[in-house]
Amino acid sequence: QVKQQIALANAQELLQKMSEKCFKKCINKPGSSLDSSEQKCIAMCMDRYMDSWNLVSKAYGSRIQRERNR
């Protein structure tokens, strides 16, 4: 249950970050609706943010391993 709560907290933090980062990257002048290019940008931005998260997670993990083995 502790595990699930952490997983949930982690997902929520990720969702929040992506909303803020992708809103900032993709919406320059907020109009009366999201146009299709903004929606496309948001989808790509979200995918790239998750790629980045995974990349950072791996790089950080392997760095911690390297520091431990020194």
Binding site: L15, S19, E20, K29, P30, S32, E38, I42, M46
Partner: protein, 73 residues
């Protein structure tokens, strides 16, 4: 049971207010240039659009996230 409901409602209200603070911050940065005598209509429109577009963005992301999770399982 009344006490519990009351606490739940107040805690929900606190969460909504936290969200209003965050949205005001984000949309202030997006829409406010130099503060003037009044909120001109252009800034006002920008502010309300900003709130709705931010929520659209969050919803789009949350929906897609859930789809990815389900596909992954």
């Amino acid at each position: 049971p009344e006490m519990k409901e009351f606490i739940q409602m107040e805690s929900q209200r606190a969460q909504l207010q936290a969200q209003v603070h965050k949205l005001t911050d984000i949309c202030w940065e997006q829409c406010m240039d130099k503060p003037r005598d009044k909120l001109d209509s252009r800034t006002e429109t920008c502010m309300t659009n900003c709130v709705d577009r931010f929520i659209d963005t969050s919803l789009q992301i949350a929906t897609r996230f859930q789809q990815l999770l389900q596909r992954g399982q």
